[in-house]
């Protein structure tokens, strides 16, 4: 059986090559931008990888906080992300629970219909949406951005949570029903605690989508009142003389919140995201 153990060793070596190459490819770019955010313009433009110690600086962060409107944009992003997350969670939790536990004529068609909205081109939807937002006088309003972003979030979130609820044993509901609870009580006190990991992933999904959204914000936002971090990042890196140190600092500050949230839900992420697809038997 020597050939077998040799094959195992070969596999291990090959797997290490894949893992190390992946680490470099997927992680190095993020570290590189973080590194750049601490360098001076001169140091970056020297074209060298390392610079003398005196050329590392916090100036880029100081500048974007004191000179630019970045703090305002950052706050806008948090505000919009939080409202989108809360609102979409309430709607998708009760909707997904209803779809998962109760009969409804044409339910399968409705579920496929909800999923199939994923194929609607967003660039097409935003044309009438823009006109609706203008008519409601919500242009350049936080509420307008929130309503637009719900389109991006809701269908997938409902589909995902419905799959998650489907995998929870119906005995839970039945036992509680016998105890005389109504639907909302069962959802709140029986299902929600058990489904917390799935709901955390759903919350994470909607926040990250809202935080990273450029499309909706770019047409509804007209001023710094509603502009978000993705907008300022695009503007900074499109300017004539690019201050790469400052752009890098903005990128880091935009990335960090998503990475922090990711580290919380990380272990549950894939299980939650693909719950709509996988049926546990």
């Amino acid at each position: 059986m020597q050939s077998l153990s040799r094959r195992r060793a070969q596999n291990a070596v090959l797997a290490y090559v894949v893992v190390i190459a992946s680490t470099i490819f997927f992680i190095l770019p993020m570290l590189w931008i973080a590194y750049t955010s601490f360098r001076t313009q001169a140091s970056i433009f020297s074209g060298a990888v390392l610079s003398p110690l005196s050329e590392y600086t916090l100036q880029n962060y100081e500048t974007i906080f004191s000179v630019t409107d970045f703090p305002q944009y950052f706050w806008n992003s948090i505000q919009i992300g939080a409202i989108v997350t809360l609102f979409s969670l309430v709607v998708s939790i009760i909707g997904a629970y209803g779809l998962s536990r109760f009969s409804l004529p044409g339910k399968n068609a409705l579920i496929i219909g909800i999923f199939s909205t994923q194929m609607f081109p967003q660039v097409l939807l935003i044309i009438p949406m823009y006109l609706v937002v203008v008519n409601l006088q919500l242009l350049d309003q936080v509420v307008g951005v929130v309503l637009g972003q719900l389109i991006l979030v809701l269908p997938f979130q409902i589909w995902m949570l419905k799959g998650y609820f489907d995998n929870l044993p119906p005995d839970l509901d039945d036992a509680a029903r016998i105890d005389g609870t109504n639907i909302l009580q069962r959802l709140l006190y029986v299902i929600l605690p058990v489904a917390a990991p799935g709901i955390a992933v759903a919350a994470f999904f909607s926040f990250v989508v809202s935080w990273g959204d450029y499309l909706i914000v770019s047409i509804i936002s007209q001023s710094e009142r509603t502009a978000t971090v993705t907008l300022i990042m695009q503007r900074l890196s499109a300017s004539l003389l690019i201050r790469w140190g400052q752009v890098a600092a903005v990128a880091v500050l935009t990335i960090v919140p998503t990475i922090i949230l990711f580290s919380i839900v990380q272990r549950r992420l894939v299980e939650g995201l693909t719950a709509g697809a996988v049926r546990e038997e």
Binding site: A15, V19, S22, F25, F26, P29, M30, W32, I33, G47, V49, I94, G95, Y97, G98, L99, F102, S103, L104, L110, I112, S116, T117, Q118, M119, F120, P121, V123, L124, L125, I127, P128, M129, G148, L150, L154, P155, I183, G212, Y214, I219, T230, M233, Q234, S237, W244, A248, A251, T254, I255, T258, I259, F262, S263, L269, V270, L273, T274, A277, V278
Partner: protein, 306 residues
């Protein structure tokens, strides 16, 4: 609790039990259905209608023009170019993601020391905003000061020094690279989850029967992760084909339309030329293409379920 609230609760308490459970369940679905109707179904129908008009944000009057926008589209060489880019980009990106995702999943399954740590951070590229991803890679692709060109110079390929997103040949492959960078780890982790659910004794039995590595992959692994694969591919075909951010933020469709895809072309017609009618007609074509794809997907999953 104030007076009106307690009244509301009392009212609800009175009528709730009079509805059957199933009817109450339907009420729960109502908010989602209403919101989706207002914000996806209505915009879709209105968008399809706009495609038959000459609506322009610079004019107040809107005329029904029938299929004129579609006639204009057929004669528009840029439209055909962007259609080709969209289809090539989606096909190449999703195919490579599946292959690379499988390789990554295989490597993670080998139980190497430290693999747990690797699994915990490898999906980071998927969670950061696309705008940040684009910024990172735009900086790395800068001539002279970008990491890619520094690296090329270090290994003696300094003659390749260029802004990669501004290159007629390499801009589109670089857009594809961005898609891979973002999504391959998601595929890897998802495939790994599906692989781990395959009973180990299948493999042991196959090995006793003398099945080689390829045969085991073909007859055990592939069927085991098939449903996960179908879902991942379906979602990503829709998401990649509809993706606007990568191209718009990285190149804006340039240089000279070499990276222009349907979503960015529709966006440009809508919000740079204000030509909503023409934009909507191309959006309609995007929808039709995805519908054809989606019908094929439903056929496949139905056959699977049967």
């Amino acid at each position: 609790m104030n007076v009106s609230e307690s009244k509301a609760v009392a009212r609800r308490a009175r009528w709730l039990p009079t509805l059957k459970e199933d009817q109450q369940g339907r009420l729960l679905i109502l908010p989602a259905v209403i919101i989706m109707a207002i914000f996806t179904v209505y915009p879709l129908l209105a968008g399809l209608w706009t495609a038959l008009t000459d609506q322009n944000l610079l004019r107040n009057e809107v005329n029904f023009v029938g299929l004129a926008n579609f006639q204009r589209m057929v004669a528009d060489p840029v439209f055909w170019q962007t259609l080709e880019h969209s289809i090539v980009l989606t096909t190449v990106v999703v195919a490579l993601q599946v292959v690379l995702g499988l390789i990554l999943a295989w490597a993670m399954q080998q139980n190497l020391p430290g693999i747990g740590l690797f699994k915990s951070f490898v999906m980071a590229s998927w969670v950061i905003p696309v705008a940040a991803t684009v910024t990172i890679f735009k900086f790395m692709a800068q001539p002279d000061i970008g990491f890619i060109n520094i690296l090329l110079k270090a290994i003696g390929l300094g003659s390749f020094n260029r802004y990669w997103f501004g290159d007629l040949t390499f801009a589109l492959p670089f857009i594809m690279l961005l898609h891979l960078w973002r999504n391959v780890p998601f595929y890897g982790i998802a495939f790994l989850a599906a692989m781990n659910a395959i009973p180990k004794n299948y493999y042991e039995a196959a090995e006793i029967d003398g099945a080689g590595a390829w045969a085991r992959f073909r007859h055990i692994t592939l069927p085991g992760i098939r449903s996960m694969m179908v879902v991942m591919v379906t979602i990503h075909v829709l998401w990649t084909f509809n993706n606007f951010d990568f191209v718009w933020l990285a190149t804006g469709g340039g240089p000279v339309n070499t990276t222009e895809v349907l979503p960015t072309y529709v966006y440009r017609q809508s919000w740079s030329n204000y030509d909503l009618g023409y934009a909507a007609s191309m959006g309609t074509v995007m929808l039709v293409i995805l519908m054809i794809y989606f019908i094929i997907y439903l056929r496949i999953t139905e056959r699977q379920a049967a």
